[in-house]
């Protein structure tokens, strides 16, 4: 059984790639992921806000201590060696590269154009095999058009493309008017792949404090279908590689993504919930299914159920009809 696949120009032994998560913070966990069969590893994200916060914190360490009293001209000892978040990230990247045999994809997460190049270069120098750019942007400004938002993605990518040589993947949100067109533009701008889709963590309102509070919910398998649809639509229509992310919890979820056309499948929530061993189980499950299937390699099954390759009925299932049928088939509970 040949599980090999290619993503961002990297030859991978199978399509399972843990996505950006705290799991890559520990060398031990990363090693266990590799041992469990991970084909590559996306590192936890280096957040732009985190870097800004890091700067602010250092700034406060440096400057908020001056009280101006004769007896206390400072308070907390500033230890000479205080590496920044970026320093630590680069250090961890180097360690991962030294420890692991699989490719390591560094992940940058931010919204503003500034700073990407500098960080991207540093990541490449530290040994990243590829970069994943996560433009985590909430278009909340009434004066910013959809076109502006899309241009922001393209600009950021192009800027970085000029300065680094390693492949770049864009991690996208599903909230584009035309996802397909957007992916096409990114391909033209030099993206080697797209990862679909990013999850916006939605804030919630706390009724007790009347405050808005951030919430974090892990994904469920149901969420994977959104990515599956768009991968199925894009497969064969664009040349860049496709990664499915969000809601892949089982080998079935993973296989569906591949059938829809994904080159790799990212795993996150399920690994956080069940640990690195989960990857091994999924891989086994995939192998077992493949053993019983007519396919001999991932390449063979990749995209067979994409919109382009599926029969008419299946193809239209990826389109609007799907929505009508589903709603009609939904019966509310008694009394609702």
């Amino acid at each position: 059984m040949n599980l090999r696949t290619r993503y961002l120009g990297l030859e991978l032994k199978n399509p399972l790639v843990p996505s950006a998560s705290p799991l890559s913070r520990s060398l031990d966990t990363a090693k266990r992921l590799e041992d469990a069969g991970a084909a590559a590893l996306v590192m936890y994200s280096l957040f732009e806000e985190e870097l800004q916060h890091d700067h602010d914190v250092m700034d406060s360490y440096l400057h908020n201590q001056s009280l101006g009293h004769a007896e206390a001209t400072s308070f907390l000892p500033m230890h000479g060696d205080m590496p920044s978040k970026q320093d630590r990230y680069l250090e961890q990247l180097q360690r991962l590269k030294q420890t692991l045999g699989i490719p390591v994809i560094a992940s940058l997460n931010g919204v503003t154009p500034g700073g990407w190049i500098e960080h991207g270069k540093a990541l490449q120098q530290a040994g990243a095999d590829a970069l994943e750019l996560n433009v985590y942007y909430i278009a909340g400004d009434v004066n910013v058009s959809g076109a502006d938002v899309e241009q922001r993605y393209v600009d950021v990518l192009q800027e970085l493309r000029h300065h680094v040589t390693v492949p770049i993947a864009m991690k996208l949100s599903s909230q584009f008017s035309s996802v397909a067109n957007m992916v096409g533009r990114l391909e033209q701008a030099g993206a080697a792949g797209v990862s679909m889709f990013n999850r916006f963590y939605q804030p919630d309102i706390d009724l007790d404090s009347l405050r808005v509070a951030p919430q974090l919910h892990l994904s469920s398998s149901a969420e994977s279908l959104l990515a599956m649809r768009w991968i199925a639509i894009l497969f064969g229509r664009v040349k860049l590689t496709l990664a499915a992310t969000g809601g892949v919890h089982t080998h079935s979820d993973a296989l569906k993504m591949l059938l829809a056309g994904a080159d790799v499948v990212h795993l996150c929530s399920t690994l956080l919930l069940h640990g690195p061993q989960r990857l091994k189980q999924i891989l086994h499950g995939m192998k077992d299914w493949l053993d019983d299937s007519p396919y001999e390699s991932i390449d063979q099954l990749k995209g067979v159920l994409s919109q382009r390759h599926a029969g008419n009925a299946s193809a239209s299932a990826y389109a609007r009809a799907n929505y009508l049928q589903l709603l009609d088939s939904y019966l509310p509970s008694v009394g609702v």
Binding site: V57, L67, G68, A70, E71, G80
Partner: protein, 1199 residues
């Protein structure tokens, strides 16, 4: 090529100390703390000593402890040192006798500081050093930053050679904190100075079971005396040895010192003898006078003990006729201070013995100068030389003050300047402690020092406030080494920077400006408007002195360039651009290089922001055209209001204006007694924004006055009819509730001029505007437009009658907050977490409180002159306060109680004895009074008043006795207050004894979990994993559980509180503690600026501490046990948030993730585990049954 460095005296001495020792036992005390901090930091960074090993630094619980540990380490053969000052040195004295008595080499570095007498002072004199003369330590004095480094090494080499321990001292602040450009001592020089053979000899003498000896025996009359005399040879040989070490040092460095160094005319007739930094000013003055033809000289004493009369005399020219010996100390009752007597004895003895080179016995006078860093200027020095020309010069004189009581003082010419002064470039900067002016100026000195061949000196004067502290930086630059060990005087400064416009109305800063000086002002007013924002006097000075005037809106520039409110780099850039110290381009390049050097490792973005600010500063700096005439319509307002009491007008106001130096001796209370209630006259106006009360939203919960750290928001209840004449903007509202009389109105009034703008009242306000949940019943608004209006309103508020204390329900917050606070407008940091507890106590018990206050933050914001926040009510009653020491506060407070109890007892005896004269009924009522509440106390006061009316009519001696003691019949509330440094560390032994005493005292521990006042050193209250000085790598051990220790006694009321987490629990704890007739202790969680976190998070920090289980809330009331109830009541719930959530939001913890991430995780894990198990432990204790145990029946005997 010598390597020049720009450092202060503390760093200079500590550099050598760290390099030449292996065990360093320390305890923080101003101004010596930085030496220990440097040593600790260097060891934490792995800096190695001369022998390639990293010195061990251990923080002890007191200086006494540090000395004991040193003694032990020395006896075990280690090379040891410590750093201390003042009271700390006094605590070391017993061990100093031991160390010297055993001929043990070591160097003790002292930043000399005044001793607490009529008052504490952190500033410099030699009282501490002089108090150790009998210990057997040699004493070596440094006069400057350069010498602090040089003598530290000479001392280290000499002590090893002589075996006599050496106290190396230099002047606190003036030398310890002066930043100067000096020649660094190369490591190879240190290597060449320190003999390994002597080190081995020291080790060979160590206690060692391989070749055991006994030391520290008890000796009897037969041999003790001889034993004391047995050391004489070592002392006799020491001066020669020290001189030989000095000679060796000279060969290696080119800097030649002698036991006594003479400066001046070879044929001098008049000579001054002194030691310390004052010798530098004297050196400068002598050179000036000599150049102007006067036959004067100066003798600098370097090795003060052992005192070598031969060397002294040899250093003095034979022509000397008159000698003035200056002591920087005071020995009340002595007929002269120590150095004077030593010199007098030396000269007289040699003359009497016919061995003197003087043809006649010189006339020798002694005088005192410079106590508590009193200025010592060339004008004063000249006055001493002038005095020596008088036929009958004054002996026992003082210089630097105006003594109109015993007329000891000499007059001096304040206008006199030495040539050296005129040759230096002087710059003055007025800044806020928090605006970074001092750090920018230190940076400037470094830049000039390191990038030019100029010498540089920086000295920084701080006021005693914590919130809104003012700093004045005195900078000098010159081609020659700078000896001006005094402040920049009038008409001397070529540059004056005013970093805050509020200072324009507060300080006559242009008095200091030289002709043609440059004046730089940070102001929001542009170049066209700024002229008329200056007071008239200032405008006149600018015109008269032909001053060039520049303005920059530094706050806007800072904001625009991403520096937020940090203006220091901007002001520094302007200084460089217009002062002409360096060519402009070169100067700007140097600042940028410095920014890169300072911040490069900390992040490119910080460097980038600094660069941006530097460029923007230049673009926004404007020269203001000076009109030929004064056009302003205002002048500096009076310092205090016209209705201030006479004492405040005459004395306090002078000190507040910064002119305290001019007050004569007669103005100062001789026994250290000062009036209370004086902060209210300050009106510091330091808040940019103040809270504004919205009476339409308020629910009168009382939380805002409860949390206000500065007592700047207050409530009063009144009949609306009383407010018919209220100012138009005075707000009040009807209030309902069973706590309040029908129809009453309530007001929450802000003291706009006293508020610090911390915002905590807004933070605590539980009300949310339903239309706009971001809005509360209190909202911050700019202070300036409201100042006048709220001044009037606050005055009106104060004039409204106080609510009757008897009607207040103390356990209900909104009612309790109607009690008048008798602790107000302290100078504590904005948002202080300690002061709300003190204010609360003053509200509840202030009119009958005696306070013993341990040295620390609370004694500084509570008792640092010119003012005190402790106040009085309309009857003139209020807290009576004293600060004894740091280490003895519990005992001091217990003493107050014992005295009161004794006096009560005696008064009762007198009452009984006089019962028939006074009236049996009144006596019975007085003796049987129940004073458990306000009503009971009120009635007793009325009885005492009745008693006082009757006593004068009774013609018996007992009546006279009782008149003096009648007040003791009214209940007194004794409070022993201090921080964790006192309670957990230095004062713990005494605290424990008081806990065990069973006496009716209330102990309030303001637990900031760190030594806050001295700059954030680790205490035993510091939590595991917290970063603090002496715990740069995070404190590895857990916090001591003081409450558990106190509870172990069983009869102590114990409460652990955090007012920002559960206010009513705090209120209850105070009431219960005070009412318990035995010992009570309240351990109060007090968030602190030292934690590195913005104090607007004060309440949230308390809340997280409680919810994470770091700070469980509970009360242990022994009364409950008697009722068969468990005395322990747990007032907080099981930990509901992860410990990580608590620590991740406080800098003191989270900076460890950056510096030592693995350790941080490890400590976090341990602390989390402890928080849970500790809570479980408390809960189990609280759940134990206290039901009366069934009577145990005797077991049946076995049949």
């Amino acid at each position: 090529m010598h390597r020049m460095v720009t450092i202060d005296g503390n760093e200079a001495a500590a550099t050598i100390a760290h390099l030449t020792n292996e065990v360093i036992a320390i305890y923080p005390i101003t101004p010596a703390s930085p030496m220990g901090e440097h040593a600790d930091e260097w060891s934490a960074q792995g800096r190695k000593n001369l022998w390639g090993t990293v010195p061990s630094v251990i923080e002890m619980q007191s200086e006494g402890g540090a000395a004991g540990a040193l003694h032990g380490a020395l006896q075990a053969g280690a090379l040891c040192t410590t750093f201390t000052a003042s009271q700390g040195l006094l605590l070391m004295i017993p061990n100093m006798y031991k160390i010297a008595g055993e001929l043990t080499p070591m160097v003790l570095h002292v930043a000399a500081r005044s001793l607490a007498a009529q008052a504490l002072s952190i500033f410099c004199d030699h009282s501490d050093v002089m108090a150790t003369r009998g210990t057997g330590f040699a004493m070596l004095c440094s006069n400057s930053v350069q010498e602090a480094m040089d003598m530290a090494l000479i001392a280290q080499a000499a002590t090893l050679q002589t075996r006599v321990p050496i106290l190396h001292f230099f002047d606190g602040f003036r030398t310890s904190h002066e930043v100067a450009k000096i020649e660094s001592i190369d490591r190879s020089v240190v290597r060449a100075m320190i003999s390994d053979e002597l080190v081995q000899a020291h080790r060979a003498r160590a206690l060692n079971p391989e070749h055991p000896v006994l030391r520290g025996s008890s000796q009897n009359p037969d041999v003790y005396f001889q034993g004391r005399e047995s050391v004489n040879p070592w002392y006799q040989e020491m001066p020669v040895t020290v001189q030989s070490v000095m000679n060796r040092f000279a060969e290696l460095t080119g800097r030649h010192y002698h036991l006594f160094d003479y400066v001046g005319a070879a044929d001098a007739e008049r000579v001054i003898v002194l030691m310390g930094s004052g010798a530098e000013a004297a050196h400068e003055t002598v050179e000036h006078l000599q150049a102007h033809g006067e036959k004067v000289g100066l003798l600098k004493v370097r090795l003060y003990r052992p005192f070598d009369p031969t060397a002294l005399l040899a250093a003095l020219p034979a022509t000397v006729r008159r000698i003035a010996v200056l002591d920087r100390t005071k020995e009340p009752g002595a007929d002269g201070e120590p150095l004077y007597k030593d010199v007098l004895t030396a000269v007289a003895q040699s003359y009497a013995a016919g061995q003197s080179h003087f043809t006649e016995l010189p006339r020798i006078i002694g005088g005192r100068y410079g106590l508590s860093s009193k200025e010592f200027t060339p004008g004063m020095i000249k006055a001493v030389y002038d005095e020596l020309t008088r036929e009958q010069p004054k002996n026992g004189f003082t210089i630097g003050i105006h003594d109109d009581v015993t007329h000891t003082s000499l007059e001096w010419d304040p206008q006199f300047r030495a040539d050296a002064t005129l040759a230096t470039n002087c710059a003055l900067f007025y800044g806020l402690g928090s605006d970074g002016t001092v750090s920018a100026n230190k940076n400037t000195i470094k830049i000039i020092g390191e990038s030019t061949d100029m010498y540089a000196q920086g000295y920084f004067v701080y006021d005693s406030k914590k919130a809104g502290a003012v700093t004045v930086s005195h900078l000098r630059f010159g081609k020659q080494p700078i000896r001006s060990s005094y402040l920049i005087g009038d008409d001397e400064a070529q540059f004056i920077g005013c970093h805050q416009t509020v200072f324009l109305e507060r300080y006559d800063m242009l008095d200091k400006a030289a002709l043609g000086a440059v004046f730089l002002l940070n102001s929001g007013a542009g170049p066209d408007e700024v002229w008329n924002t200056l007071p008239r006097r200032m405008q006149q000075q600018i015109i008269d002195k032909n001053i060039r005037f520049f303005v920059i809106d530094a706050y806007t520039v800072a904001q625009d360039s991403g520096m937020q409110r940090r203006i220091n780099t901007i002001m520094q850039t302007c200084h460089f651009a217009i002062s002409g110290l360096l060519p402009r381009d070169e100067a700007i390049k140097a600042i940028k290089q410095a920014a890169e050097k300072t911040y490069g490792k900390k992040g490119a973005k910080i460097v980038e922001l600094n660069f941006r600010a530097i460029d923007a500063a230049l673009a926004n700096l404007h020269e203001v055209p000076v009109p030929g005439k004064v056009t302003s319509v205002f002048d500096r307002p009076p310092v205090v209001a016209a209705n201030a009491p006479q004492f405040v007008q005459d004395i306090t106001a002078v000190m507040m204006a910064g002119n305290g130096d001019a007050l004569p001796v007669s103005a100062i209370p001789a026994d250290g007694t000062w009036p209370t209630g004086t902060t209210r006259w300050e009106k510091r106006n330091i808040a940019l924004e103040i809270p504004v009360w919205d009476e339409n939203l308020c629910i009168a919960c009382g939380k805002c006055p409860f949390v206000c750290p500065h007592t700047s928001i207050r409530s009063k209840l009144f009949d609306p009819a009383q407010a018919s004449d209220a100012p138009p903007t005075f707000k009040h509202m009807a209030v309902k509730g069973k706590e309040f009389p029908e129809g009453a109105h309530i007001v929450y009034q802000v003291a706009a001029e006293d508020c610090t703008g911390c915002g905590l009242c807004v933070d605590i306000c539980p009300v949310k505007d339903k239309d706009n949940p971001g809005r509360r019943a209190l909202n911050m608004a700019p202070q300036a437009p409201l100042r006048e209006q709220e001044r009037v309103n606050f005055d009106y508020f104060l004039a409204l009658p106080e609510f009757d204390r008897r009607e207040v329900r103390n356990t209900v917050m909104k009612s309790a907050m109607l009690l008048q606070p008798l602790f107000e407008f302290s100078s504590a940091c904005s948002g202080c977490g300690e002061t709300p507890y003190l204010r609360l106590a003053s509200q509840l018990f202030g009119d009958r409180m005696l306070i013993a206050n341990a040295t620390g933050c609370s004694s500084i914001y509570g008792g640092n002159l010119p003012t005190t926040p402790w106040a009085q009510d309309a009857h003139g009653r209020g807290p009576a306060w004293n600060n004894s020491l740091f280490e003895d506060n519990a005992e001091f407070g217990l003493g107050l109680r014992v005295a009161i109890d004794k006096q009560q007892e005696y008064a009762a005896e007198l009452l009984k004895a006089l019962a028939s004269h006074i009236g049996e009924d009144l006596v019975a009522a007085l003796l049987g009074a129940v004073q458990e509440d306000e009503a009971g106390i009120h009635e007793q006061r009325e009885r005492v008043a009745a008693l006082r009316e009757r006593l004068p009519k009774i013609d018996r001696p007992e009546a006279r006795q009782l008149e003096a003691l009648a007040d003791s019949l009214v209940q007194k509330s004794v409070w022993i207050v201090g921080g964790d440094g006192w309670a957990y560390d230095i004062g713990f032994g005494g605290l424990d004894h008081v806990l065990a005493s069973g006496r009716n005292v209330n102990i309030l521990v303001l637990d900031t979990e760190v030594y806050s006042n001295t700059g954030g050193q680790t205490s035993k209250a510091t939590p595991r994993g917290a970063v603090a000085k002496f715990s740069a790598g995070g404190k590895p051990t857990p916090k001591k559980d003081l409450a558990m220790i106190a509870m172990a006694y069983g009869n102590v009321y114990v409460a652990q509180v955090a007012y920002g987490a559960k206010d009513v629990q705090t209120l209850k704890a105070f009431m219960e503690a005070e009412s318990w007739p035995g010992v009570s202790i309240i351990i109060a969680y007090s968030p602190c600026t030292a934690w590195g976190t913005d104090m607007i998070n004060n309440h949230a920090m308390q809340d997280r501490a409680v919810r994470s289980g770091h700070w469980p809330l509970f009360r242990y009331d022994p009364r409950r046990a008697a009722q068969q109830e468990n005395p322990l009541q747990l007032d907080s719930k099981e930990p509901s948030i992860a410990y990580r959530e608590f620590v991740s939001q406080e800098t003191r913890f989270n900076m460890l993730w950056r510096s030592h991430p693995e350790a941080a995780e490890k400590f976090l894990g341990e602390a989390q585990k402890h928080a849970l198990s500790n809570f479980q432990h408390y809960r189990q204790l609280a759940e134990l049954s206290y039901a009366k145990p069934e009577e145990v029946k005797p077991a049946k005997a076995k049949e």
